[in-house]
Amino acid sequence: MSQSYDRGLVEDFGRWQEFSAGMWAWVLHKFTGWVLIGYLFTHIAVLSTAIPAATGDPAVYTGTLQSLEELTVVRILEVGLLSVAVFHILNGVRLLFVDLGVGLGSQDRSFYASLVLTGAIVVASVPTFISGAF
């Protein structure tokens, strides 16, 4: 016999203080997903400078990428991108395990673990991402 669980509206952010770990995982996975698809369009737009570069002006591509990398704000945004990508990957792995029926009883802990691991990976990567920016 199936049981129903009244989760309330996840979309009703006014009651965010009542959100459980599972709801936060849902919200953060959606948020990071939106950021990543938005970035994919931006990424291809910037890399489109390879098209004129291939016809004899490689400086268009090299200059565009290196000029962007010289901007401190871009380096900071890259750390932000890394954060959302790492969280989306780790939480995604967690969701795949849940879909396979693995670890159903420890979803809260695996969500917190994915948050902690994201933080650790991002902090460890900061020196590489900002080297030469300041």
Partner: protein
């Protein structure tokens, strides 16, 4: 506890494809970040270096597959998130075809970029 918050109709085709592409993307996205931020630093990237990488058939094929799966995973995820928010009827159909169009445009432009990165002239 066995609560699940998903934007997908459970066990449908789109649900399944979202998982398959996720498995591929986990590996390739991590590889992409490692190669272009830790092995080669982003601020040192040049067209010559990009061309050298993209001229290897295995790398080129991986990147094009990466583009295709990332586009599908992203667009499919957005569509299901919107349906989950209550999108229905004509608006749902309009959103579906807008997302399919945006996904196709992104894929076509991405393939043009990938070919240009090998040194090919793809100007229209």
């Amino acid at each position: 506890m066995a609560e699940r918050y998903s934007s997908f109709e459970p066990k449908g085709t789109r649900w399944f494809l979202q998982r398959i592409t996720a498995g591929f993307l986990i590996v390739v996205l991590a590889f992409h970040f490692m190669l272009l931020h830790f092995v080669n630093h982003a601020y040192e990237i040049t067209f010559m270096g990009t061309q050298a990488r993209m001229s290897q058939i295995g790398y080129f094929a991986t990147m094009v597959l990466f583009l295709g799966t990332a586009t599908f995973h992203g667009v499919n995820g957005v569509y299901n998130a919107l349906v989950n928010q209550g999108l229905s009827g004509t608006r749902k159909t309009a959103v579906k075809y807008t997302l399919v169009g945006a996904g196709l445009l992104l894929t076509v432009q991405g393939i043009r970029v990938a070919l240009a990165m090998t040194g090919m002239n793809v100007t229209l």
